[in-house]
Amino acid sequence: MRDWRKEKGAFAVFSLPGTFWIILFFTLPLLIVWVYSFCARGPQGQIIYDFSFDNYLRALEPIHLKIIGKSLGIAAVSTAICLLVGFPMAMGIAFAPPKWKNPLLVLVALPFFTNQLVRTYAWIAILRTNGYLNQALGGAYDGLVNALGLSDTLVSYSPPDMLYNQWAVIIGIVYVNLPFLVLPLYATLERLDKSYLEASLDLGASQQKTFLLVLVPLALPGIVSGTLLTFILAVGSFLQPKLLGGPDSEMIGTLIERQYKESRDMPFGSALSFLLLYSTFILLWLRSALAQRSKGADFA
């Protein structure tokens, strides 16, 4: 690695375009939002530069706190489900016969490359009242009832509301973020020295005990890292609550969008944005702090 002073010209050529762009089209906009978060909104929607913490305080009012709490709750449940579904998937790929590993990884990653909007709204057709899922369940139910000859005594299938509520949102978030968890989990499991597992079996521990006492503790850093990342992504979701959610499932993302589009209350929206941003930073810092700690005990 060379010192920048030795090749000032080259350094400038390589780094200045990026620096320019990130300052002008990223840092500056964020700074403005930050400033706005302390301003107030005028009657015609203009900005009044009157420094105060009002917006932040307003964000902590019960009505908004509920939404923040809901976001954290939905994100937590989604992340937990992702972990429940993603861990076996990662195990299956990590312990698959070698020639299957790459194809399986590609299969897991491929949906990730399709548009998130498309992947989200696809669930509308599945979950709505006369959607595919209800059709399938209704058809199975009716078929069973008819086969058993009970069509006169039992009511016909009444489809439950699966769309426009928080469960649809959770399904959507799980669906969209699953690859984000499976891939790092796979990487962690792949790096694990299998002879630890063999040693545990050899010493008499059953498969279940080996899993709990050896595999999970050794894979924990990777699990925690992936889980935190998925949680961060889930908290900031917009499309899932907007398209799949209902009155009970407003999240921070949709709340912020409303401030900027309908309510035209940019200062308040800015305060909310920055609250989200601060929490993201805190979680990221937590993630790297935990990663640093586990580096001390070299498990690989």
Binding site: F113, V118, Y175
Partner: protein
């Protein structure tokens, strides 16, 4: 003492070739795990597959299957509004990819090669667009263009925003490619009489190329697929393809919407496939470069 012979007693005749049980650690061969994997993959692909399948549905309301047709593709392709947004998307993706690739590749080299003060915080800043919640960045770009700069939303605002969140990805990809670069190749070039620019173009750039291409394809995909940031900074006459699909979805999920989405999926998957193929090819090539 005689030398111990190792001829064993004759082998049992024709030992049957039996299919082996999975070994203790061969979890991938156990039935229950295979079942879980199959179910998971069905979960992962069913929504996309049904969406694509129902784009061929001969039914406006698109609730039940009523026959195969390509009508809605025709409709989608003839939809001038969709058409225009597709052109917009392509224009934005093109310029965004071009600028992001150049800016990001240069930055990737800079990060890999140079030591400079405050490098740590600077790297953090560069990585921010990657980890920041999209809605925060979307809000920032809206405020910036609407209030600070005061220009109307249009292709420029969209493109500038796309570049802002794409070039860090390119920088990361190119940087990791450059991590494997043998700097003595550059020294050899200088030793043989080439000046720094010649060295860059003849020695460094060829090595960088696979990373640059991978980064470019990534930038293209990110731009084409982007929704939220574009949604915030696009105007009524300058929407992109995903944003248009969004407004169509808000009305109703017709086969036409599905058809448009399927076409979008096809484009991004093709680009991704090209990228993966290219990467695997260059992986073999660069072994020779050493």
């Amino acid at each position: 003492m005689t030398a111990v012979a190792t001829t064993a007693p004759p082998r049992p005749a024709a030992a049957a070739r039996r299919k082996l049980r999975p070994a203790p650690l061969e979890y991938g061969r156990r039935t229950w795990l295979r079942a879980v994997m199959v179910v998971s993959f069905i979960f992962l692909y069913a929504p996309i597959v049904t969406l694509i399948a129902f784009s061929f549905n001969n039914s406006k309301r698109n609730v039940t299957w009523e026959g195969f047709t390509l009508d809605y593709y025709v409709k989608a392709l003839n939809n001038t509004a969709l058409h225009d947004t597709l052109i917009n998307s392509m224009i934005v993706a093109f310029w965004s990819t071009l600028a992001s690739t150049i800016i990001g590749s240069l930055l990737g080299v800079a990060l890999q090669r140079f030591r400079f003060p405050l490098k740590g915080p600077y790297e953090g800043l560069i990585h921010l667009p990657i980890v920041i919640p999209e809605v925060c960045m979307a809000a920032a770009m809206l405020v910036f263009f609407a209030k600070f700069v005061g220009i109307p939303f249009g292709l420029f605002t969209i493109t500038a925003s796309h570049i802002a969140f794409s070039f860090p990805f390119v920088a990361v990809v190119v940087r990791s490619r450059m991590a494997g670069f043998d700097e003595s190749l550059e020294e050899a070039s200088r030793d043989l009489g080439a000046n720094p620019w010649q060295t860059f173009f003849n020695v460094t750039l060829p090595y960088m190329m696979p990373g640059v291409v991978a980064g470019a394809l990534l930038a293209f995909t990110l731009s084409l697929d982007d929704f939220l940031i574009t949604f915030f900074v696009s105007g009524p006459s300058s929407t992109t393809f995903p944003v248009k699909i969004y407004s169509m979805v808000r009305q109703s999920v017709t086969p036409e919407v599905n058809a448009a989405s399927t076409m979008l999926i096809l484009v991004t998957l093709t680009v991704t496939a090209i990228g993966m193929w290219f990467q695997s090819r260059s992986g073999k090539k660069s072994v020779g470069h050493g």
